[in-house]
C-alpha cells in the first residue's frame, strides 16, 4: 500500500478547515485511507540518521497516509483534497477537459519503428500556463515518483518524463538507438555522457541503479529528441538536463513511454488531472498527437468519461441496504462518480471520470456506494446458508517447510538427486533452497536449539513434506508423514519401537506379518542398488542410520518407513552429542 506524506497545515488549508488528529484519523478510516503516522521531517531524519543530522530540519507536521494500491488519484495532496472534499460534499468533482491549442498545431510526438524492440508505446500532453510554487512543484515531482513505484511497476511498465516546453521545440521523435550513439547532458550533471557511460555512472546511484536492468541488455535504448536534436529523455532512466522543469516553468510537456499502453494512458491522465488545477484555465489539458510507425495518430490525454447504467436494486441487494434510487445516486456522486436516476425504473446512470481507472466493473461502483453509505452503518445480518460441517483429517506443525539442500541431503548422508525435492529458484537465504522431503532435519534442529532441556528429549511431528510427482498438474504433491525422535544418553531404540507399536495399535493395525505390520532389518545392499521399495522412499535412507541398527516398517506387505538408531555422523552434523533413535513413516495410507 503506497504511503503519501502531506504537510498537515497545507492539507487543512486546502480542505478549508482543521481537524484534530483523531477526527482526521476517523475521516481517513471511513474513506478507506489510513493515517499511518504523524511525524515531521526533523523526526524522520533524526530517526534514520541521528539527532545531529536533524538539527535545522523542518518540524512542520507531516501526515503519512496509506492509500489503497488501486487509487492513483489519491497519491498527492491535490487528489487527496479533491477526493475528501467531494466525499464531504464541500466540492463538486471538477470536469477535466482536453482542449486544442489556442493557436497553431498540437505538439506532436513521432514514434519510430526501432522502439518496438524495447519500449513500443508513448503518450503525451501539455499543461499550458501553469503556475508552480515550491509546494506544487514538490508535489508534482513526488506524484511522478509515486506513480513510478506503483502502477508503473518501478518504471518497467511506464516511465514519465516532464519538460519545460519553452526550452524545446517539436515535433518530437521517440526512437531507439544503440547506447553508444546516444549522447546528452543528463539531469543535474554538468557534462555530456553517452548512454553507455551513463549506465556505468548510475551503477552506484542509490536511486537510479534499480531501473538500469529494464534496458541494460537491449541492443537499443529508447530516447526522445526534439526537432533540434536535443535529448528530452532516455526512458526509463533519466531526463535531459536541458528541458528540466523549474519553478518558473509555464508550459509543461509530459511524455510517458511504456510497454503497457493502457497503463501509460492512466498515468498520463493522473498527471494532468492532478496538476491542470494550477493552469490558467483550471482542469483543461492541451492535447498532443502521437504518431505510431504505421502512421496511425492518437490524441492524448484521453480523459475519457465512461457511462455505466445499473439499478439501485442491484446496489441494495449486494450491499444489504434499502435506499432510494436518488439517495444511491447521491452516494455515488460523493465518490466522484457523478450519478443520476434516469427515471427509467430504478436505473441510475453513473459517469466514471478519468481519475477513477480502478472502476472496471459494476461491483466497483457498488463498493463505492457502500463506502459512501458507511460500511459501519450497514446492518449486520446472518446468512441463512445451510450446510453440514465436515473436516479433513489434518495436522500441521510448527517446523518450517523450507530448508537448505544440505539439511535434507548431505547432513542425512544422502545425495540431493535421490530426494525428489522441489527446488526454489529465488531464495533470499540458504534456508529456503528446497521444500523438505523429510521431517527428520526439523526435529533434529529443534533438539539442537534446545540442548539445555533435561534429557530425554522426545519429539514428534505429523506434517506434510513435498515431493516431485509428474502425475500431478503442478508436478509435485504433498505427502503426510509421521516422524519421532528420541534423544538420550542411550539410543533408546525400544522407546521408538514402542511408539510405533502404540501408533499402530491406535490405527488398529495388528502386529503380524501379512495383514498387519512388522519391522525387519533394512537391507543395506538392496538399498545401495536402489531398487528396494515399492514406495518411493525419499526421506530417511539406510545410510542415515547406524549400520545394523535400521529396520524397515512394513504395513500390509508394503514398506512405509524406517526406524533405527541414527548414524553418529548424522548426529554430529546436526551438532548433537547424544545417541538418538528416530522413526519416520508415510501415513497417507491411514488418512
Amino acid at each position: 500500500m503506497p504511503t503519501v506524506g502531506v504537510k498537515r497545515d497545507l492539507l487543512f488549508k486546502a480542505l478549508g478547515r482543521t481537524y484534530t488528529d483523531e477526527e482526521f484519523d476517523e475521516l481517513c478510516f471511513e474513506f478507506g485511507l489510513e493515517l499511518d503516522e504523524i511525524t515531521s521531517e526533523k523526526e524522520i531524519i533524526s530517526r534514520e540518521q541521528g539527532d545531529s543530522k536533524a538539527s535545522g530540519a523542518s518540524d512542520t507536521i507531516l501526515y503519512k497516509i496509506d492509500v489503497p494500491a488501486n487509487r492513483y488519484d489519491l497519491l498527492c495532496l491535490e487528489g487527496l483534497v479533491r477526493g475528501l472534499q467531494v466525499f464531504k460534499n464541500t466540492l463538486e468533482a471538477p470536469r477535466y477537459r482536453r482542449v486544442s491549442p489556442s493557436s497553431g498545431e498540437p505538439q506532436k510526438l513521432v514514434i519510430t519503428k526501432e522502439t518496438a524492440a524495447v519500449r513500443p508505446h508513448a503518450v503525451a500532453a501539455v499543461l499550458r500556463n501553469i503556475t508552480f510554487t515550491q509546494e506544487r512543484y514538490d508535489s508534482f515531482i513526488e506524484l511522478q515518483e509515486k506513480l513510478h513505484q506503483n502502477i508503473c511497476r518501478k518504471r518497467s511498465l511506464v516511465a514519465i518524463g516532464t519538460h519545460d516546453l519553452d526550452t524545446i521545440s517539436g515535433p518530437f521523435t521517440y526512437t531507439a538507438k544503440p547506447p553508444g550513439d546516444i549522447s546528452f547532458k543528463p539531469l543535474n550533471q554538468t557534462k555530456e555522457y553517452t548512454a553507455t557511460q551513463l549506465m556505468s555512472l548510475y551503477k552506484t546511484d542509490s536511486h537510479l541503479r534499480h531501473y538500469l536492468h529494464i534496458i541494460e541488455d537491449k541492443p537499443v535504448y529508447p530516447v526522445i529528441y526534439d526537432s533540434n536534436g536535443i535529448v528530452l529523455s532516455m526512458p526509463p532512466i533519466i531526463n535531459g538536463d536541458h528541458s528540466k522543469i523549474t519553478l518558473k516553468t509555464k508550459n509543461v510537456f509530459i511524455e510517458c513511454t511504456a510497454t503497457d499502453v493502457t497503463k501509460a494512458k492512466i498515468v498520463l491522465d493522473m498527471m494532468v488531472t492532478m496538476f491542470s488545477e494550477y493552469c490558467s484555465q483550471p482542469f483543461t489539458v492541451e492535447e498532443a498527437e502521437v504518431v505510431y510507425p504505421d502512421g496511425k495518430t492518437y490524441k492524448y490525454p484521453e480523459l475519457a468519461y465512461r457511462k455505466e447504467k445499473l439499478s439501485s436494486e442491484f446496489i441494495n441487494r449486494k450491499v444489504g441496504i434499502n435506499e432510494s434510487t436518488e439517495k444511491i445516486a447521491q452516494l455515488l456522486t460523493r465518490m466522484c462518480l457523478l450519478s443520476q436516476a434516469t427515471g427509467v425504473g430504478d436505473e441510475i446512470e453513473v459517469e466514471i471520470p478519468p481519475t477513477r481507472s480502478d472502476i472496471i466493473h459494476a461491483c466497483d461502483i457498488m463498493e463505492d456506494a457502500a463506502m459512501a453509505y458507511g460500511f459501519n452503518n450497514i446492518p449486520r445480518t446472518t446468512p441463512r446458508t445451510y450446510t453440514v460441517a465436515n473436516q479433513v483429517p489434518g495436522f500441521s506443525s510448527a517446523c518450517l517447510m523450507c530448508c537448505s539442500q544440505e539439511d535434507i541431503a548431505e547432513k542425512l548422508a544422502k545425495k540431493i538427486s535421490e530426494t525428489k525435492a522441489v527446488h526454489i529458484s529465488n531464495p533470499k537465504t540458504a534456508e529456503f533452497q528446497v521444500a523438505r522431503t523429510t521431517l527428520l532435519p526439523g526435529l533434529l534442529k529443534t533438539i539442537a536449539a534446545n540442548r539445555k532441556m533435561p534429557l530425554p528429549l522426545k519429539l514428534f511431528e505429523i506434517s506434510d513434506v513435498v515431493l516431485k510427482d509428474e502425475t500431478k498438474d503442478v508436478g509435485a504433491r504433498n505427502s503426510r508423514r509421521f516422524c519421532a525422535v528420541y534423544y538420550n544418553k542411550s539410543p533408546g531404540f525400544e522407546v521408538i519401537h514402542g511408539l510405533l507399536d502404540r501408533t499402530m495399535q491406535l490405527l488398529e493395525v495388528k502386529s503380524v506379518r501379512g495383514d498387519g505390520y512388522h519391522i525387519q532389518a533394512a537391507d543395506g545392499k538392496k538399498a545401495l542398488r536402489g531398487n528396494t521399495l515399492s514406495f518411493i522412499w525419499s526421506c530417511v535412507s539406510y545410510s542415515t542410520f547406524f549400520p545394523g541398527r535400521c529396520a524397515e516398517i512394513f504395513v500390509r506387505g508394503k514398506s512405509v518407513g524406517r526406524l533405527g538408531v541414527l548414524h553418529p555422523d548424522v548426529i554430529n552434523r546436526f551438532e548433537l552429542t547424544m545417541p538418538c533413535s528416530a522413526l519416520e513413516m508415510d501415513i497417507e495410507p491411514f488418512l
Partner: protein, 499 residues
C-alpha cells in the same frame, strides 16, 4: 559440598553434647577431635535431617589468623631478628647480607631498632656489626600468641600494626553452636524415606521413623506429550468453524501454479505480489503442465479484454506467466480450486474453511516469517450481501471473544468490496487490525462457471498473530521453526481463545 558424616563422628559429637549443659561450638569440637571443620558440619547436617535431635545455630565470628608471611615469621623469627642472628662477631659485609632473602627488609628494621650498625669506611666495603648482645624478637612473640589463639593478650594497636605489615589478617568464620534438641538422644534410629511393601507386610513400619516430606518442592512433571501452542490455537479455530457448519478444504498442495494462485483470482500478471521479491518460484519443477483449457481461455480473456461485465485489465496475458510454479502465497488458491470444482456441478451453497501453511519471500524479522499459517473462511450462496459478510464475521469473532468490530474499506485485487476487520483492543485502548475480508469479484467467479446470482464472501487472518498474543510471545521465531523454545511448548496452557 559436604561429605556425609561417618557414624563415628556423629556418635562422638552426640556424646560431647550430652556432657555439656549449654552447648558446644563446632569449631572447638573440630579442634578438640583433630578433624577438619567440614566433617563436623557434615555431622550436624545429617543429625538435623533426622529431626530435632540437636539444635544447631549458625554463628559467624571474626578472628585473627596469620598470613603466609606471618606463619613463616612465627616459625623462623622476624626478618630483623634473622638479620641480627646471621651477623658474626667480626661483622658481615653489607653486600653479603643483602644476598639473604630477608636481608633487605630485616636490615632497615634492625637498624631502626638499633640492633646493628654499619661501618661505611671499612676496608673492602661497608660492613655490619651487632650493637647489642641479645635481642627480644617481639614480633615473633606476638605472632606466636595469635597462632596459639591467645589473641586477647594483644592490644588492638599491636594487631593493627601487624595487619599493616601483612602478617595478620582478620577472617570471618562460620560455625554452629550445637545444643541438645527436643528429642535428644545419643542413639540414632535411621529415618525411612518411604513406606515399602515389606513394611506394610510385616508391620515393621510401626517401629520406623519417617523422613518428613518437603511440601515446598515442585512435583515431578507428568510424563506426557505436549502440543505446540500453534497447534492448540489451530484446534480451537477448527472447532469454531465446525460449530458454524463449515467444511474443511483439503489444503495439502503447497506447490501451486501461478494460474491458480493468481490468474484465477483476477490478480493481474504485473501485480507486485507476483514479483520475485514477494513469491518463491520453483526451478524444479518450474512449470505446471495441465490446466482446464476452456476455463484458462476465459481467464485469459477476462484479464486481457474484459467480459462478464468487466473492462478487464487490457494487457497482454501470457500463459508462460500462469504456468510458473510457486510455493502458494495464500490458501485462497485452494479456495479458487474448490470454487471451480463447485462450479462444474449443479450449484449447492457451501461454507468452506482452511487453516494451513502459506509462503512469502519476505525478509525475516521478529514478526515476519517466510512461512506462516493462514486461516480462511468462504461462503458461497445466492444473494449474499456485504451485511451478511459483516454478520458472519461478527459471529466468528464473537466465538474468539472479540465482540467490538468495525470495518475499513480496503483494496484487494480479487475482492470487491474489500474490508479490513478491526477489533477494539481493551489493553492497548485502540483499534487493531485482526483480519481481511471481502466479496470475490465477478471476474473471478463467472469465468469459473458459477451462476451469476451467486455471491462468495470470504475472510482471512493469520494463525500466528492470535497465537503470539494469546501466549505472550514477542518473537515469531520462538514460536515457529526449529528455534522454538521447548520449555514454552511444555508450559503453555490449554487454548481457550475467549479467555
Amino acid at each position: 559440598n559436604w561429605v556425609m558424616a561417618d557414624t563415628g563422628v556423629v556418635e562422638t559429637l552426640l556424646r560431647l553434647i550430652e556432657k555439656v549443659d549449654d552447648g558446644v561450638d563446632s569449631l572447638e569440637v573440630a579442634a578438640s577431635l583433630g578433624v577438619d571443620h567440614q566433617v563436623i558440619v557434615g555431622a550436624v547436617k545429617s543429625l538435623q535431617a533426622l529431626g530435632d535431635i540437636i539444635s544447631a545455630e549458625l554463628r559467624s565470628s571474626k578472628h585473627w589468623e596469620l598470613t603466609e608471611e606471618g606463619t613463616e615469621i612465627a616459625e623462623q623469627g622476624s626478618h630483623e631478628a634473622r638479620v641480627f642472628s646471621s651477623i658474626p662477631l667480626e661483622g658481615l659485609a653489607q653486600s653479603e647480607l643483602m644476598k639473604l632473602s630477608f636481608g633487605k627488609i630485616g636490615f632497615s628494621k634492625a637498624m631502626s631498632n638499633k640492633w646493628i650498625r654499619v661501618d661505611k669506611s671499612h676496608e673492602g666495603g661497608p660492613r655490619i656489626f651487632k650493637t647489642v648482645e641479645s635481642i627480644d624478637d617481639q614480633v615473633r612473640e606476638k605472632l606466636l600468641l595469635v597462632k596459639k589463639a591467645n589473641t586477647a593478650q594483644l592490644e588492638e594497636k599491636e594487631k593493627n600494626e601487624l595487619k599493616k605489615r601483612k602478617l595478620l589478617s582478620e577472617v570471618t568464620v562460620k560455625s554452629y553452636w550445637i545444643s541438645k534438641g527436643i528429642s535428644f538422644s545419643t542413639t540414632i534410629t535411621k529415618q525411612e524415606t518411604e513406606l515399602t511393601p515389606e513394611m506394610v507386610a510385616n508391620g515393621s513400619w510401626k517401629e520406623k521413623k519417617f523422613k518428613p516430606y518437603n511440601f515446598e518442592a515442585m512435583g515431578v512433571a507428568p510424563d506426557c506429550g505436549h502440543l505446540h501452542p500453534l497447534m492448540k490455537v489451530r484446534t480451537q479455530f477448527r472447532q469454531i468453524f465446525l460449530e458454524m457448519g463449515f467444511t474443511e478444504m483439503p489444503t495439502n498442495n503447497f506447490i501451486e501454479s501461478s494460474f491458480w494462485n493468481f490468474d484465477s483470482l483476477f490478480q493481474p500478471q504485473q501485480h507486485p505480489a507476483r514479483d520475485q521479491h514477494d513469491t518463491f518460484f520453483l526451478s524444479d519443477p518450474a512449470l505446471a503442465h495441465e490446466f482446464p483449457q476452456d476455463y484458462l481461455e476465459r481467464v485469459k480473456k477476462v484479464h486481457s479484454e474484459g467480459g462478464f461485465g468487466s473492462q478487464g485489465y487490457k494487457y497482454d496475458w501470457k500463459i508462460e506467466e500462469a504456468q510458473k510454479n510457486i510455493l502458494r502465497t495464500h490458501t485462497t488458491a485452494v479456495s479458487a480450486r474448490m470454487l471451480y470444482k463447485l462450479a462444474q456441478q449443479k450449484f449447492t451453497p457451501v461454507k468452506y474453511f482452511s487453516i494451513d501453511r502459506v509462503f512469502r519471500n519476505e525478509t525475516l524479522d521478529a514478526t515476519h516469517l517466510a512461512e506462516f499459517h493462514q486461516i480462511e473462511g468462504v461462503v458461497a450462496d445466492y444473494g449474499l450481501t456485504l451485511g451478511d459478510l459483516m454478520g458472519i464475521l461478527h459471529q466468528f469473532f464473537t466465538k474468539l471473544g472479540i465482540t467490538k468490530l468495525r470495518f475499513k474499506p480496503a483494496y484487494n485485487p480479487y475482492t470487491e468490496p474489500s474490508m479490513e476487520v478491526f477489533s477494539y483492543h481493551e489493553g492497548l485502548k485502540k483499534w487493531v487490525e485482526v483480519g481481511n475480508s471481502g466479496v470475490f469479484r465477478p471476474e473471478m467467479l463467472l469465468p469459473m462457471g458459477l451462476p451469476e446470482d451467486v455471491s462468495v464472501i470470504a475472510w482471512g487472518l493469520s494463525l500466528e498473530r492470535p497465537t503470539m498474543i494469546k501466549y505472550g510471545i514477542n518473537n515469531i521465531r520462538e514460536l515457529v521453526g526449529h528455534k522454538v523454545n521447548l520449555q514454552m511448548v511444555y508450559d503453555s496452557p490449554i487454548c481457550r481463545l475467549e479467555s
